[in-house]
Symmetry: C2
């Protein structure tokens, strides 16, 4: 688990995922103005996610326009379902809708092929 946590914070910004197939959750969001506790929660959610069974890594970027994309990688759909149903994560999801995000999209996808430079 600690290995995955470290890998997800590679200075390159790239997650070290295994050979496909594996799953990607593409989370695209537009933030509201102000922090309102978002930064701390985002950090602790990445930590918590990285401790879940089936977590493979995470990549994240947010621009100055408030649009952000976080892609988390998982070994199975079951691992994704379990993470979605995690009580601490559910609390964060609720806060996300009430306070942090103007809108967001979640896409569950199966990675079939990858290559790296």
């Amino acid at each position: 688990m600690s290995t995955n946590t470290n890998e997800s914070h590679e200075p390159t910004g790239l997650a070290k995922t295994p050979e496909p197939p594996y799953y990607a959750v593409i989370f695209t969001s537009k933030r509201t103005a102000g922090d309102n506790g978002y930064g701390d929660m985002a950090e602790s959610m990445v930590m918590l996610a990285s401790e879940q069974p089936g977590f493979l890594g995470v990549e994240s970027a947010r621009g100055s326009d408030g649009v952000g994309i976080t892609v988390s990688y998982w070994a199975s759909l079951e691992a994704i379902r379990n993470w979605k149903a995690n009580p601490l994560h559910i609390a964060a999801q609720n806060k996300g809708r009430s306070d942090w995000y103007e809108n967001y999209g979640v896409r569950i996808s199966k990675v079939e092929r990858d290559y790296f430079f």
Copy 2:
């Protein structure tokens, strides 16, 4: 085509994709220092991509640490292959490896489910 182009520049930052299944190309990269013509090329590549058959939309974010994620959405694997083989896009890919990116990863995935807030 112009509809897709407009949709990919929604102020929300979210692409308006159709019902799944469709495909997502997750492009994660770490930029080198300096612009070196990157900004103009990135913009023209988004324009060009949006004119390709099977293009469904694009989402993009890059943080101050130089890590960026661009997710483009496509109707089929064939559409993705054609875009990868586009001569102007190939020129940009070569320039990307020589000048603009310290490293990058490309993941081809099939979106099976999505939801939005």
